[in-house]
Amino acid sequence: MADTVATVTLTINGREVTVPKGTTVLEAAKSVGIEIPTFCWHPKLKPVGACRICYVEIEKMPKLQVSCATEAMPGMVVNTESEKVKEGRKAVLEFILINHPLDCPTCDKGGECDLQDNTFAHGIDDSRFDFNKYRFIRERKSTFDDYRIGPEIVRNQNRCILCFKCVRANKEIFGEYDLGVFQGGNISEIDTAPGEKVDSIYSGNLVEICPVGALTNTDWRYKIRVWKTQQVKSVCSYCADGCNLTLWKERDKVYRVTSRRNDVIDEGWICDVGRYGYQLASVEGRLTTPLIKKGDKQVAATWEEAIGLIARKFREIKDKKGGVCIGGLISPQQDCEALLAFSKFFRTQLHSNNIDFRTEYKMLPEKESPYYSRLTSASFRIADIENSDTILVVGTNLIKEHPIVHLRVRKAVNQKGAKLYTLNPFTTKSGDLSRDEIVHVPGTLEAFLNGLCIGLAEKADGEGNVRAAELKARLEPNTTAKAAEICGISEARLNDLAEALRSAKKISIIVGELVSGSPAREAIAAAIHNLTVVLNLNERGQAAILSRAANSKGAERLGVMPSLSKELQQKLKSMWGGFPETEGRATDRMIHAAKKEELDALLIIGANPVASFPDGQFVREGLDKLDFTVVADLYETETTEKADVVLPLSSWVEQSGHFINLEGTMQRFEAAIKPVGNSRPGRQIIEDIAREFKGGLFADAHEIAREMQELLNVEPRPSFPDAVAEVKFAEEKIEKDYPYPLFVVDEMHHFGHLTERSRSLAAFAAEAQVEISPSLAEKLQIENGSLVRLESETGKLVLPAKISEMLDNDVILISRNFSGTAANMLQMRKKRIDRVRLIRVDEK
């Protein structure tokens, strides 16, 4: 017999309803389409019964009951619409409105306010309260007592109905403790902790969850009335989580972004980057017309001129030296359509395999990486994280890199009791949640993983599927003691983690960009692969290296890389009637070739390698040697500066398309507005060039959709036996003069090189900072905000310091998101770990 869920049957408004045991009366009613008004109830929060608007009458109960906090019981007879219920709700509303300012005409929530709607529905038009209303006045200059509680959020306490959803979601779901309820009774107020502000990566959700106009954000305030807008279904174009969004637009402007709840991905939450990142579509300074370099100036040109020139130049190079002397870099934030067109143009018209989407990470050494490919293409479900009792997070500041995956991990830990372990070269925010936050010496991850495999095999004592002796022969270090020593972690902690994994029933191993961005990615992936073999993970969980950007997965699945799996090559060959035989070059090799004048032209779409690809000096020298550079982007960047032709690119809100999220789910997004100025979507630009160069890439829209689908049907996982991989750890030599490991990461409220243009996101952080731990700051006598000079073997930068409570070892983090601070100047492409020295700059 299948699992039976205990159910209860009750009667609601004369209808018999059967629901699983534990369901509330409110949800039971909802399940048959009976709506009950609510203020404080939220599907993802524990009920608190604070507002009382959800009153229902239940037979045999003398008083009205709050349906959101009353469990459905067998035989209950519920009435949700009786006179008594209506009177009760009316009374609740009358109470709520006692001190309410009734300032709907100037309130941004007007038209989508639960209080307005419920009051309207209950026909309340009078109040028996004859006294002056209590008024909260925080900023006396403001007419409406608005008070800013964070970079984006404005609080108007007079409108607050004390449903506590904001504070509850903040604590329960986001784990943030920056907003609370203060005082009591009718002077209760929602406020920040004294001296703090609401500025977490999830802060925008608090505005979205507020049922009234008490919390609003400057993004949307006083810009437009909600009933004038249309809603467009979209998907976030930033990280790979793939949150579903609604774009609210009127004519040719998007006014805001809200979540569009998708329970298998985001559960109705989005991060601030997704919420405010859309703003960069309509900021001053967008590139609106093509530019062609004449002398040392870039001058405006028509699309015909620009495309004509590109086609001519490409033909010239192809005829003279071959298509392989042309390379292409495209951003993984471009949609599947653009990515496929890009690959098809290079492979079928230029006969070049020189394409890549990885323009931020070190690529050396460049060789086959079967283990890495296997782990990046492993099947992984965000929702499955909740079903794991043990979670291992490796090589990522998860809350930053994948904010929504982080929320699932939080949920697993807090609501389902999962055990979390983190394994990183520095302390991260997820550490607060973990049983053990393991911080290893930077650059020694695979040594630790080797130790972990040995520890597990030894515990299994011959009964596991891998024998310790077999492992020892293939691994180095090959004892737990040696591994622990190399990584600077006690053997006991290593063994504790091994024990936790051994006894786990269901495991999720989540690996992030500190692995995918490392030149040692293949060795680390092999070590993780070994761990999955030792743990027999196929049968008890999931492990994956998560893709980073909105469509990195799309780029992998559609083949926007120089070397592809046999299966994918075969498919492309048959689909396109041919496939270039020559070996392709990855980003690093292309630039290297440019430097040696073996590559003559680059077509770059939406990427800014000059400021982001390690290392800066190398990229600059490479690009300077090119004969012909074409760069398409939204704004001028360090890379467009070097271009012979600059093309204005449309943002994702100006086009429709598909992204594939880190789970491999393809999702469609719709265009909200027309392309800004004369800009064109990436796909169109590529097709225009191809048409002029040789001919159209696709017969019609169906063809592109069919080709995409066929490629997605190709099994992405390279198959090979689950044997133990050889992993020999080799220590990297450290130059004494450069003692501190440097990590170039995204700033919490930014992603990629364009979000600094978003006004709201800039309000959280507008310039790069050097993040260091309090102890390092003390050692070097550096204060918060004071200038420091960073020096590596290749470059230097002067930046303000930010002392971060999150960090507690001697590492340095800098963000990659700000123009004017090319952090890649400090990076060395051949080094696994970048190292710098840090000097206080004494201001005069």
Binding site: Y177, D178, L179, G180, V181, F182, Q183, G184, G185, T192, A193, P194, G195, E196
Partner: protein, 158 residues
Amino acid sequence: MILNKISIAEIKERMVKYPRRKSVILPALTVAYRQVGHLSDQIYREISDIIEVPYIEVAEAASFYTMFPKEPVGKYLIQVCHNISCALLGADSLVGYLEEKLGIKKGETTPDNLFTLISVECLGSCASAPMMQINDKYYENLTREKVDRILEELRRQG
């Protein structure tokens, strides 16, 4: 650090007695109040560090309880109940009388730092209204004469 060794030890002692750390917030606030005479953001931070409860939760709890002064007060904190039973029996004029006798307004402290006068919600002694609390002690069934005597006595003690 504002909290001294004794207070910290006392707070730690309380931590053992409660199954949940959050439950220690009020006892800890009380210990701090006893030592300092009032509470402050800095004190919330210190308590938060000791009992490992988020800072905001300590601040929230403290803000809820009017019995904890958040600014320095005089040696004697006079809290007159202004809630319903006491109000019916003349709490308002009692406050007025105290203001007159002390020469200060509600919410203020006398220049000699001896008395601070505030009014608060029900102190649970409605049967003996009107009433007030001075530091830890209840003074009930108040009349003007009684108030005179109490103030005189406290002044004498200094």
